[in-house]
């Protein structure tokens, strides 16, 4: 990752254009009488893996539930596969069961009074599928999630991870148009969560079904999505591919919420299409170009985000004129796989992510380099 240059990931850039499959237009909704979604629009492409990412209360779950038909929006329009399922203007509200979707709930919602088979067969049976076809399909999806040996067990005997697998099998069974997932991994312990994340990724690849995934966990969103929508206070903060959001956050909120970043404040010395320069404390910081001027903070300073993984620490000054400063290691925290440094440099303090192959001592004098392309101008948060 250290060697990685911004915008160099051509594999993601070459993703094919997709047909719009779910279209949300000017959606507004309230939750417990308070506005939760305040007019958002986005598309989900056919077969796309899209995540709604944000802290609790940002409106992501309400958005998902509106698409599922479990909450009634107050305004806007939702279309699935070319068919309008909700429109405030035209007074259309297709009931949940006729939207041909399926959903995985945070609590899994495995029905305790049914067996594993009955749980998975539910969506097929209510749509009056032939009994033999039901059996075949249920066996198939249970095999897909590795639960075929539990088929006739009562659902109450399952562990959390097993319930999760059954919930996934159940949502795949009836071949839905799209799969909605509401924080499906958040009730699992850390180790199982990582494991299930890989399982989900595999299932996504195999099934190629459109996924809309709600999470507050940036790692999950990064790992599982083609695109991420970052939400805040009922509005969309930024939309982009995972690496795009990681490398070029638009705002302080996104920079803080995803990954770890230093937020450096300074006044602008110059701003040209080729890049801007900020004066941060005693340091002249050359930043990556940005088309528009970012929104300054309350003190009139401009902000630049520097991911803690991108500054380079050296014992000697490297090549290049820009963005090299002498600094002192003030604190070192060894976490095992990674090392966290807190550095004093002319611009104040800087947090830097290092690796155990090169260790610096506390109090050691070092040279620190921030590649200009890694200092990203961001909008200060409105409130």
């Amino acid at each position: 990752m250290l060697m990685h240059e911004a915008g160099a990931d051509t594999k993601e850039d070459s993703m094919p254009e997709r047909r719009v499959f779910i279209r949300v237009t000017n959606l507004e909704a309230s939750y417990h009488g308070k506005p939760a979604v305040r007019g958002i629009s986005f598309d989900v492409g056919e077969g796309e893996q899209l995540s709604l990412l944000g802290p609790s209360g940002c409106g992501k779950t309400t958005t998902l539930r509106c698409i599922a038909g479990l909450e009634k929006p107050t305004a806007g329009e939702i279309a699935i596969d070319g068919r309008i399922v909700y429109s405030a203007e035209h007074n259309i509200d297709v009931p949940s069961e006729r939207r041909m979707l399926s959903m995985v709930f945070q609590s899994y919602a495995i029905w305790p009074h049914m067996t594993v088979f009955e749980n998975v067969a539910y969506g097929l049976r209510v749509r009056r599928t032939h009994a033999e076809a039901v059996r075949a399909r249920v066996t198939e999806v249970l095999r897909m999630v590795g639960m075929e040996s539990y088929i006739d067990q009562p659902a109450t005997n399952l562990s959390g991870g097993q319930q999760q697998r059954v919930a996934l099998a159940r949502s795949y069974a009836s071949l839905p148009k799209a799969l909605l997932l509401d924080e499906p991994l958040s009730n699992l312990d850390a180790r199982l969560r990582v494991h299930m994340r890989q399982e989900l990724k595999r299932l996504q690849r195999e099934s190629r079904i459109t996924n809309l995934y709600v999470t507050h966990d940036q790692e999950e969103a990064m790992a599982l999505s083609d695109r991420i929508i970052v939400m805040r206070d009922g509005l969309i903060e930024q939309v982009g591919r995972p690496l795009e959001i990681y490398d070029t956050p638009r705002s302080r909120f996104v920079a803080d919420f995803i990954g770890a970043a230093n937020i450096l404040a300074g006044h602008a010395l110059e701003h040209r299409p080729s890049g801007a320069t900020l004066s941060v404390g005693g340091a002249r910081l050359a930043c990556a170009p940005r088309e528009d001027m970012p929104i300054p903070d309350a003190d009139g300073n401009y902000l630049a985000a520097v991911r803690t993984v991108y500054p380079e620490l050296r014992r000697e000054r490297g090549d290049g004129a820009d963005n090299w400063w002498p600094g002192t290691v003030r604190e070192r925290i060894l976490l095992g796989d990674i090392v966290n440094y807190v550095l004093e440099w002319p611009g104040g303090t800087l947090r830097v992510h290092g690796f155990p192959h090169t260790l610096f001592c506390e109090g050691e004098s070092v040279w620190v380099h921030i590649p200009a392309g890694r200092a990203i101008l961001i909008d200060a948060d409105g409130d």
């Binding site: 069961e97 041909m100 959903m103 029905w111």
Partner: protein, 566 residues
């Protein structure tokens, strides 16, 4: 009020059609009788008219000459509810928080006196502790040769004692439920911080339990204000009248004095409202989220050498509230005449044959009570389920008002509300008086709070996503209700059904005015039977009633291991 499962609404939304319909129905069957009662209390014209012909305060002026009715009511209710609640706290603490052996069975035995009911309790205790001829006094005479009475249940302390005894189980269930819902780490934290067992109890446990204890006390207080069987049976000899017995006397006298009875009732309702107000005020800002829906397994306190003492307390309660009363009545039911004998050779089953087969009134009462039990169970559960559903699973305003209205009968002394219901039945253009249907309506309404409370408990616990999953996967509303909601709720619904069945079979207060020649029911039949003498036969009828209730109890234990959900 006594019970609130919804937060007060913050934003106005349009009222939904089901809410509107239910509000209308409840206003008719709860609001209208109360309106009739209030009108009657101020009626100084034709005393037999349902709608006041002339308004005035004369009834209240007349009531001033009988202030002892109100005073006696408040005295026995206050004393009985405080003793009953205290006893319940002690029993709940022993059985839910200490490691005494045999807790599961003891928990069941402690709750049984409630479904058995106060009428049975009063009859049994008058048999046990009447000043002349009571078993305890007879035994005392035989042992000491003295002719003084050791105990006299025909007294104010006697009435308070028996009332407390038979209402304790309700308070025990309410307080016990709260104790099990309290997060034990709150107490453990206090202990780790250095507080001793007593300091923890006083500073953490009691304040956290206070809302539940106060709520149980209020329930008992209002319930005792409406108690009828105990003060009648134990107070009649000494001409000790409380509001309910006075109202009964005014109803039964010739001519019936409805306006004065209504005035007594209205005054009592005002006192009940004051108690509710006091309760609400005392709890303002104290609804602790820590006592949540989850049930914990608290660490049980080992009381060491005190364990036998605690057990003795529980055994003593079971002895005086269950074993002695039932034992006495069973023996009395086997006698040939009113003089009790303990020689099994002279016992007979004739009384059972008489009440079950030979005497048409009691035979009819047994059949009718079974019908009513089934009817109240079915209709009451259905209504409470619909209410709980609309209140907790639908949108729109009006749901808060609906819940308050559904719970209102709980704040009304039962016999007084039953009188108001009688007037509603008479005022409705439906010729319902004297039919079982009238009694059924009364039962459904007076037991609605209990049914609603019990069913709300299970509806709220049903994770909404279980139903939502069904909808998203393609199930219609009806299909989800049939395949998911009802199957998951069925143990809770069945428990509520059995609870309603039991309390309908044993009810007296709500049916005493409505039961009659065309509609014999067990409770009033037992009471009238007692009134006209014939103790062995009454006892046989009581035992029959108790057997029905025990059968229902066995069903309820089979469906839920948790016991009666209140």
């Amino acid at each position: 009020m006594l019970f609130r499962s919804l937060a007060r609404p913050t934003r106005r939304e349009p009222i939904s059609l089901p809410s509107l319909v239910l509000l209308g129905v409840l206003l008719l069957v709860i609001g209208y009788p109360l309106l009739l009662l209030a009108g009657m209390a101020f009626n100084v014209g034709d005393a037999q008219a349902l709608v006041p012909t002339q308004l005035g305060f004369a009834n209240f002026v007349r009531l001033l000459r009988h202030l002892e009715w109100v005073r006696n009511t408040l005295l026995v209710s206050a004393a009985g509810s405080v003793i009953g609640t205290a006893l319940a706290v002690v029993l709940a603490w022993i059985l839910y928080r200490t490691s005494v052996p045999g807790r599961a069975l003891l928990e069941l035995l402690v709750t049984i006196p409630y479904p058995i009911g106060p009428l049975v309790g009063a009859l049994a205790w008058s048999e046990l502790a009447s000043p002349r001829g009571g078993l305890i006094n007879s035994l005392f005479h035989a042992l000491t040769g003295s002719h003084a009475s050791l105990v006299n249940v025909y007294s104010v302390p006697g009435i308070v004692f028996v009332m407390a005894l038979f209402e304790t189980p309700v308070a025990f269930l309410m307080i016990g439920a709260a104790m099990r819902r309290m997060d034990p780490t709150l107490e453990e934290c206090s202990a780790v911080m250095g507080a001793g067992r007593l300091a923890t109890a006083l500073r953490v446990t009691v304040p956290l339990m206070a809302p539940a204890i106060l709520s149980a006390w209020l329930f008992l207080f209002i319930s005792m204000m409406g108690a009828f069987a105990i003060p009648t049976i134990l107070g009649a000899n000494s001409r000790f009248y409380v509001a309910t017995t006075a109202i009964y006397m005014l109803f039964e006298g010739y001519p019936p004095q409805y306006p004065l009875a209504a005035a007594v009732g209205l005054v009592l309702i005002v006192f009940a409202a004051a108690a509710v107000w006091f309760y609400t005020r005392a709890l303002r800002g104290k609804s602790y989220a820590v006592v949540g829906g989850r049930t914990y397994k608290p660490r049980l306190i080992d009381m060491g050498r005190w364990t036998p003492v605690l057990l003795a307390v529980v055994y003593a309660y079971i002895l005086v509230a269950l074993v002695l009363p039932l034992g006495t009545l069973v023996i009395a039911s086997l006698q040939r005449n009113s003089n009790l004998t303990f020689s099994a050779a002279s016992w007979t089953l004739h009384n059972y044959r008489y009440v079950l087969f030979e005497f048409p009134t009691t035979r009819q009462a047994v059949v009718n009570s079974l019908l009513l039990g089934v009817g109240t169970g079915t209709a009451g559960t259905a209504l409470a389920f619909i209410l709980a559903w609309v209140i907790h699973r639908s949108r729109g305003s009006g749901r808060f008002a609906l819940e308050q209205l559904a719970m209102l009968p709980q704040s009304l002394p039962r016999l007084i509300f039953a009188a108001a219901l009688l007037w509603m039945i008479l005022a409705l253009p439906l010729k319902l008086y004297g039919t079982l249907f009238a009694v059924l309506i009364a039962y459904i309404i007076v037991f609605l709070p209990l049914a609603y409370r019990s069913i709300t408990g299970v509806v709220v616990q049903l994770d909404r996503s279980l139903e939502e999953a069904g909808r998203v996967l393609g199930g219609s509303w009806l299909a989800v209700m049939r395949t998911i909601t009802l199957p998951l709720l069925s143990p809770g619904l069945l428990a509520a059904w059995v609870l309603l069945f039991m309390i309908s079979v044993r009810e007296v207060s709500a049916s005493i005015f409505l039961a009659g020649p065309g509609a014999q029911v067990l409770g009033p039949a037992i009471f009238n039977f007692w009134d006209s003498g014939g103790l062995p036969q009454v006892s046989a009828l009581v035992v029959v009633q108790t057997i029905i209730i025990f059968a229902a109890l066995i069903v309820i234990r089979a469906v839920s291991k948790k016991g009666v959900a209140l």
